[in-house]
Amino acid sequence: MAMQKKSLIFTRGWISAAGSRPRPSLLDCMIQKQRILVSKVVIWIGALSPGVWLLFGLFLNWLGPNPIETLTHITGMTTLVLLLVTLSVTPLRRVTGWNGLIRIRRPLGLFSFFYALIHFNIWFVFDQVFNWRWMVEDIIERPYITVGFSAFLILIPLALTSTKRWMRRLGTGWTKLHSGIYFAAILGVIHYYWLVKADVRLPLLLGFFLSVLLLYRVPGWLKRRRRAVMRSELADP
């Protein structure tokens, strides 16, 4: 019984109102709000901690003889992990039936972009030494940089249009634009795989998680496609 009630609370009001079941009470709403607050706090702490660790490390000399390498690796890794966590929000929502989870997707995505931005800037400042020509050369000539830079470019418009206002303004186009995250994640993992010298175990692990997250979505995509085809056939027999 408890299970049933839980799933009810987290279903949108207009769906549950269709049946003879009771509407969620004020208490239920408060519990849900609190849960969202707690998960947001967890996300902020979790997502900021690598950055705080690096900042302390930089000033207290923890990052070893080549701190730029450490900074580059950890910001890149954090970007990828946060991208994967962002992509797991929807499956998690379906599995738990807790739709409130959707509220944490935007901060996760933005944190991922935040680390990508730092990652890119470290590379531009310390590896390319502000030299645009070197930078363009590297982007063109080094495939792992080409794909990494492309992933970064894809993320920029997603971060810029993440507000509610842009969501409303773009309508269904917003969803289309933001499916760019799938490409960014794929390119990001390839970027990581191509840059390691021999130990490909971690990039493969991230690739595995990404494939699981993408495969999970395939049936939904197929269904929606079929429906769209049927609709167009109905409209134009």
Partner: protein, 320 residues
Amino acid sequence: MIIRSRKVSDIPSSDITPAEVYLGRRKFIRDAGLGLATLTFGGTTLNSEVAAQSQEIPARFRNLKSELGEELNSYKDITTYNNFYEFGTDKKDPSRNSGEFKPEPWTVSIEGHVNKPGNYQLGDILSPVTMEDRIYRLRCVEAWSMVIPWYGFPLADLIKRVEPTGNAKFLRFETVYRPEEMPYQKTSVLSWPYIEGLRMDEAMHPLTTLVTGVYGTELPNQNGAPLRLVVPWKYGFKGIKSIVKIEFVEEMPTNTWKMANSLEYGFYSNVNPEVSHPRWSQARERRLPSLFKSHETLMFNGYAEEVSHLYAGMDLRRWK
């Protein structure tokens, strides 16, 4: 250009350590370190850090910076930032995971086309040679570099003693295989044991050094104890560590990195700013501890004058 080798005459006699004493000292330091560890931590096992801290850097290194114009990297940097995949693929791994490794007793098997093959005790290899400080820049294929005061002797000295025959065209080196002490040898990150090679004239070149120490003190495990190769005009991975076998062969041996990826790594692996690694440029390097990758990489790592004749007429784009 950074090259400096000090013969015995340059070094105050108080700083010279005869090989026998030197080899004994390793044991002494370990014992002393063990005693210290037992005293301080009430019987916790000795780790390599305790041993490293108990070593003192000889005074002759104190004012070298001004003499060379370029700063030496610190002992700490040299011994905590290592590529030694047998102990792990992160730069911190070798210093953390090499505590169990036993660099003694040590035997080097010398095989192939030589008149005097056999199993040589390390002490026997070291007793007739003259140890020198060799300050070289180490240029890693990953585009960073360090300036390191190695302690060792010319490989040529050993080669002459074992009398190679006319068939010996190349040298094939092998690292020890001890998965119990080298945890990553249990993985298949690379094929083990690690193999490297040199052409005979490269091996005989006076810059090519067999190293047993750094900063005048014994080589820590993470740097390739007790015996490693240093070839300063080649990328760092040519400097094979913890050598147990040197084979004199007729055919060019296949080195481990070439085996792992022949499109990216070759046999010669000479430092060359004009030939990029397929995945990154080799034109610039990060001279640690500098933060910026702004140091221009020099042909043959700055040793062109001494070694370019070895490759006269060779297309260095093809012979990577």
